[in-house]
């Protein structure tokens, strides 16, 4: 089984967002970058599928800056066989451009599965996986929280509001992974040593500018610190009065 996992280098979820002087981007000074958490589930699932099949190859593909090589090395340390970096200094806001660049790389690869995290925790675009599927004419299931593959068919479960959809699909296919699918492994020391010797190919990404223009990156509206209504259960009637009469939400 040959599987591609598309991964992204993103700021750590504990990052305090500081807006750069251009007013349109994140000030990256002092920011720690990590493998996108949802992509960890995709990497883990790919490794498990390959292990279960007893043969195959797992390839990590990233679109991003030169420093994303480290992110790819993290997946190689987890057990991915090789990596490809489509290098670019700036990703456009338009996710379709990212999808086109990835689709061009993935199309000739002969993959049985293309896995993505369900979204990146930086741009929250939540679209590149299904767009790649559409561009390549492949079946796709997003936000997969449970997966079974038997031969050339799969059954996936995905959370929807108030329930779970059970979805059947044929391979080859594109899947995006959600939390709950598996418990991603930590790279072992042996894996980290081995990762240094695994192949990592760097190519220039063919990226268009896209049709979404960033007007501004803005701080969220300020919230004033809470009005402390009181201490203990005795404060509850006053809280309820405020919610009714001042906030008007009850």
């Amino acid at each position: 089984m040959k599987i591609a996992v598309c991964i992204k280098r993103v700021p750590d979820s504990e990052t305090r967002v500081k807006i750069a002087s251009d007013g349109k981007s994140l000030d990256e000074a002092g920011v720690k970058f990590i493998l996108n958490p949802y992509d960890e589930f995709a990497v883990e699932e790919a490794l498990r599928l390959k292990e279960r099949a007893g043969a195959g190859e797992v390839v990590a593909v990233a679109l991003g800056p030169s420093a994303a090589q480290e992110t790819i090395r993290t997946t190689l340390a987890m057990g991915v066989d090789r990596g490809i970096l489509l290098q670019t200094d700036r990703l456009p806001a338009d996710g379709l451009e990212a999808a086109k660049a990835l689709a061009a790389e993935l199309a000739p690869g002969g993959y049985d599965l293309l896995l993505f995290g369900k979204m990146a925790i930086d741009d929250y675009n939540q679209q590149v996986g299904p767009m790649v599927a559409e561009l390549l004419g492949l079946p796709c299931v997003t936000s997969v929280a449970h997966l079974e593959i038997a031969g050339a068919r799969g059954v996936a479960e995905r959370e929807i509001e108030g329930g779970v959809e059970v979805v059947e699909f044929p391979l080859p296919a594109v899947l995006s992974t959600d939390k709950g699918l598996n418990e991603p492994r930590y790279p072992a020391l042996k894996g980290i040593m081995a990762a240094k010797k695994k192949p990592l190919e760097v190519k220039a990404a063919a990226l268009g500018g896209g049709a979404l223009e960033i007007v501004a990156l803005l701080p969220p509206p300020e919230r004033q610190p809470a009005k402390i209504v009181g201490e203990g259960a005795a404060a509850v009637p006053e809280l309820v009065r405020l919610l009714r009469e001042e906030a008007k939400v009850l």
Binding site: E157, P220, A247
Partner: protein
């Protein structure tokens, strides 16, 4: 003139409530663009609730039926919607940023060769171009984008576009559409417990964290949610989801759901930055916490410092009185 296509959702043959928000957002855009709102719903047969969509601003409501469209059929839906868009002259195509909308919108956008703005919180028209605001970094910042060309393809974040009654004709049409529902087939929906609201869509969210001390104590939050009379869902912090106390579907935060309910009640949640990111766009936030210095009080509107096991039962009583 440019019309707006509002893509609605049905479940079990009834229009979903989030679709009222989609029509409301589409109406706002159509007024700015000087066009009509055409609402589109895909189903296996007649859909309950389409007659009410005129009230929220739909000029026409078109139901397109196919035997394979009872449940979500991603490929068939994509085909039908893309064909509809290509047959008209739309300035915008609007989805809900629901589980279905977030899956469907990227496919339709890619089919049309158009960019997609997901999870939009505000939308307008400036100098003839559609402009949107959407959260990034889980709400730690907002990104304002201008969409070049048309149609603009967007999905609207649930609970942000409060349905407003702006009556239009709401002319109803229905037609059968031929064609395959596609290779990806939704076999069934395994429903959560009856009456359970999703944290991403509930108008009131009552969330618990480590302060609850043990999983069984979430009963008290379930009772509080129930006191709100079917309006509330129970959410959870990452800490308690990672500990296996609550399912991931309930997690609010950067690696869970980003929610914008009318009322968010944080119980025993200290307020880690990644949690605040997921709920700070709520309209009103109430925090109940033992520790008066907990960061949650910095984003909350109202706070009670105290033992949640005393405060919450009293709150349940008071809310019940209100609904009594």
């Amino acid at each position: 003139m440019s019309d707006v296509l509002a893509v609605l959702e049905q479940r079990h043959g009834a229009v979903r409530k989030v679709s009222h928000e989609v029509v409301t957002g589409a109406r706002r855009l159509a007024d700015a663009l000087g066009g009509d709102v055409e609402a589109l719903v895909l189903a296996a047969g007649a859909v309950q609730g389409v007659e009410r969509l005129g009230a929220f601003g739909a000029d026409t409501v078109r139901t397109l039926t196919n035997a394979g469209f009872a449940l979500y059929a991603p490929e068939g839906y994509t085909q039908v919607i893309a064909e509809r868009v290509q047959a008209g002259r739309y300035g915008a195509v609007v989805f809900a940023a629901s589980a279905t909308g977030k899956d469907l919108a990227p496919r339709v956008a890619a089919r049309l060769g158009r960019p997609l703005a997901q999870d939009v919180m505000d939308v307008g028209v400036e100098a003839g171009a559609v402009v949107v605001v959407r959260p990034v970094f889980a709400g730690k910042a907002l990104l304002k984008l201008r969409v070049g060309g048309s149609p603009a393809v967007i999905s609207l974040r649930p609970n942000v576009f409060t349905p407003v009654e702006r009556p239009r004709a709401g002319i109803q049409e229905s037609a059968a559409v031929a064609g395959s529902a596609g290779r990806v087939v939704t076999k069934e929906i395994k429903a959560a417990e009856a009456g359970t609201l999703d944290v991403g869509e509930a108008p009131i969210v009552v969330s618990g964290g480590r302060g609850l001390k043990e999983p069984a104590n979430f009963k008290v939050l379930e009772a509080l949610a129930a006191a709100f009379g079917g309006q509330a869902a129970v959410g959870a912090s990452r800490a308690v989801v990672d500990a296996g106390w609550r399912p991931h579907a309930d997690q609010v935060g950067q690696t869970g759901k980003t929610v914008s309910p009318t009322l968010y009640v944080a119980v025993g949640i200290s307020g880690a930055i990644q949690h605040l990111a997921g709920m700070r766009t709520s309209k009103v936030i109430v925090a109940i916490n033992k520790d008066k210095d907990a960061p949650i009080f910095k984003v909350a509107d109202y706070g009670i410092v105290g033992d949640l096991f005393e405060v919450v039962p009293r709150l349940i009583d008071e809310i019940k009185k209100l609904h009594g």
